[in-house]
């Protein structure tokens, strides 16, 4: 009987340790992080999602987390400026693949292999940046109150129909790096020649240009503009608040990965590591999925209708020069 209990006891202990991989390492990091007091994160992940993660992280570890949210462009610019000035104030950067790669090349990140990173599929691990914890899918989101079902755009090509002139909002491709990439990647969906014409036709629709993908979605939610080129997840996020949003089932979407990196000169190195450990953990991933994110866990989808059917094409990566060239090119097309 006693041996039976010991057997079950051992199983329970084993289960605890497998459920919290690398617990021993994390506990030490957490203790050291507590002494540092807080972790400072700059990122483009939505504040409401990060707030939920931060609260759970602080509850679990006792380490305070400060989060500054801005567009991927601003996050990268802020981090690079602080590095150039020799005064980096952040521990963690949390944003899209392309800006992360640029920052990596400029030596912004320390190599940190989190024990919780092993939960991700191998093909989701970038050799430079580690696990691609979520995907961001760009599509067409519209306001159901502003458009009748027959009037909704079904394809990307529909967007250049003259009836939508002035009715589209999108981030400014001359300012917002993710949108620069999106426009520069359209050839992957429609071929080079067609994409070039499409870009000019889209600009001719005189879309309202905003700072980033979130304000584009917000304008559709408020009914200010009926259609947005933005992340499809916002259809769910704003829908939760009562906004009548849906997204076009485009067949193929364009998407990108999201990563987080530890600053090589982090003022709170251990607190930063503890945050990464928690952030990549199952608990955090589930929370994010519930809040509408496409996290990189098999079979886990956000509560967005047809989320499991979405297929996306990876956007092209640009380097600093590539962004400068595209910025100039799109200024001629979109701002004239």
């Amino acid at each position: 009987m006693r041996s039976k209990y010991s057997f079950y006891g051992s199983l329970v202990i084993l289960a605890i340790f497998t459920a919290v991989p690398g617990w021993g390492q994390s506990a030490k990091t957490i203790e050291a992080g507590k002494k540092e007091g807080k972790v400072v994160i700059y990122g483009s992940l939505e504040s409401d999602t990060t707030d939920a993660i931060k609260t759970a992280f602080t509850k679990k570890t006792g380490i305070e987390a400060e989060y500054w949210r801005a567009s991927a462009t601003k996050v990268m610019d802020r981090a690079l400026s602080e590095q150039r000035a020799g005064k980096p104030l952040f521990d963690i950067i949390l944003t899209n693949d392309n800006p992360m790669q640029i920052m990596f090349k400029q030596g912004l990140f320390a190599k940190y292999e989190s024990p919780t990173a092993s939960d991700f599929p191998k093909d989701a691990i970038d050799p430079n940046l580690g696990p691609r914890y979520r995907n961001v899918i760009i599509g067409v989101v519209y306001n159901k109150s502003a458009l009748s079902p027959a009037d909704t755009p079904k394809t990307l090509e529909d967007l250049v129909n003259p009836k939508y002139r002035g009715k589209i909002v999108m981030p400014d491709p001359t300012q917002h790096t993710t949108t620069t990439q999106w426009v520069a990647s359209l050839w992957k969906l429609m071929g080079k020649e067609k994409a070039e014409k499409y870009i000019r036709d889209l600009a001719a629709m005189k879309p309202i240009l905003v700072e980033s993908l979130l304000p584009a979605a917000e304008r559709v939610a408020t009914g200010e503009t009926p259609i947005a080129i933005t992340y499809v997840k916002y259809a769910y996020m704003y829908g939760k608040k009562g906004a009548p949003l849906d997204y076009s089932r485009l067949g193929k979407f364009m998407g990108d990965g999201h990563y987080l990196g530890l600053n090589s000169k982090a003022p709170h190195m251990n607190a930063g590591k503890a945050f990464i450990d928690y952030f990549l953990d199952d608990d955090s991933m589930k929370k994010m999925a519930e809040l509408g994110e496409f996290v990189n866990r098999k079979g886990v989808y956000p509560p967005l209708p047809d989320a499991d059917k979405i297929q996306f094409v990876e956007m092209v990566d640009l380097d600093t020069k590539g962004f400068a060239a595209k910025k100039k090119e799109y200024q001629q097309i979109f701002l004239r």
Partner: protein
Amino acid sequence: MSVDESALTASQPLTSAWRRSRIGAFLSQPVSWVFLSVGSIIAFLSLYPTFFLFYGSLTDAPLGLPGKFTLQNYVRAYSDPEAYPLMVNSFIFGFGSAGLSLLFALTLAWITIRTNAPLRRLFELTAIIPNILPPILVSISWVMLLNPSNGLINGAFVRVLGLEKGPFNIYSMAGLIFVEALILTPLAFLIVAAAMKSMDPSLEESAKTLGSNEFGVMRRITFPLLRPAILAAGTLNFVRAVESFDTPAIIALPARIEVFTTKIWREALGSFPTNHNLAAAYGVGILGIALVFVYLYRRFTSQVESFSTVTGKGFRPHQIDLGRWRFAASGVAFLLLVMLVVLPILVLLLVAILPYYHVPTWQTWQNLTLDHFRYVWATPRVHKAFMNSLFLALVGATACMVLASLASYITVRTKIAGRGIIEGLVFIPWAFPGTAMALGLLWAYVDFPIPVYATVWIILIAYVTRFLPYGLRAVTSTIIQVHKELEEASIVCGAGFLATFRRVMIPMMRPGVMAGWIILVTIFMREFSATLFLYSPGAEPLGPLLYFLYLDGMRGRVAAIGLVISLISVILIAIAQRYSRWDTN
């Protein structure tokens, strides 16, 4: 003879020579040391960022890295064909909003000061209320009222008149000018109203005695007398419009209207890769424009008495009896105040209790929420921003007024040689556009030995430098009115400079100091244009927080924070008034 005595005798000729020399005489007075200290501080504050703005525009390396001399940034900035529409847009925006704000201010001032319109005193008092609302919030509230798709006013027109779409479009040059004009109206009102109040009525009465009617009096007497004040208000508002980023950030950027400040934003912060050098070259351009117009402003103000000065003359301007039209005049004043105060505040109140911004329907009233106020209450980022802004407002305004009091005393009350230099140095920040100064400060402090860059201190330096002229004007107008006899009596009784300054001048200057302090506190609580360039996430004041929340589409949170800012500003004003015995009348 003791050793000490011999030493004294030997050094006597030397000491006498020293005392005879002008430098010795100059340095022997405490006031000279105050002059040197104040002069050095103001010189450093004014010249250091100016130098670095030019440095940034003449170098080829990014901020924080050593570079080589180049003129390429100017060539690129001003040979670009897009630079000309940008300049034209900036001038249209500047002249348009300055002109419209003058029209609003003149109308309101004339009705409240020169006519017998009912409730005119109430209108006069409420005309300065918009000063407590951050300009960025005024812009946001008008976007919610007049955007072409679901602006509340457009929506009302569509519903009531059955139109296909709303008649107004805020995302246009006209919209941009209209909103900026509303923001600038209180400043123009203060200048024009002060001039109207201090006008000598005997000239108008003489004209009437000689048979001129009301229109003739207005055309031949009133308007020429007001002309310097009108020109002063116009040029000042032109400069304030051209340098502002609040309204362009909210309206011009989405409307694709490029003005100087949006271009600087685009180059320095808004896009990747950023180009601070090119932004600095545009900054020098906007500084040049501002210098010309501030010079003109000073010429005009030298023709009219300082707008915040109480003249002390014991007359009241002649009041025009409008007869039956007095109610119509009140109606016009009321309409202006609705646009200036009532509508923006009502929209903010509404948006602050909506779950997400939309045109309200019957269902909306069942879904009202206090979630946005809960967010303000529960979010550490918001608390930190409030603390940063309060720190900047209280410490910045105090530091600014201390410096302004000393500088004002030296320039007005002393005959120290070189006191004109201080006046000249203060001219620079008076003309320095916030965005251009912020760029200069970034270059100036990125490698400064004292770690000021990316802290709240760089913002404090910007505020003190940029708004020192406001403080100076408030104190100077009071010092002029303090009779010299009081100060002389103190000196005759044996008090030195510091004792006289502390015991006589400070108590006498208190109303002016507190008036300046109050103005600065409200400005610092809501400053945005310079702050956006200088802040860092760890030292984020309210201006950038509001902007980023707005960009993230969180209009309810923006409205809730805006209302709390206004409430705090009102409380601070009330406290300061109580302790200063300062009378708004």
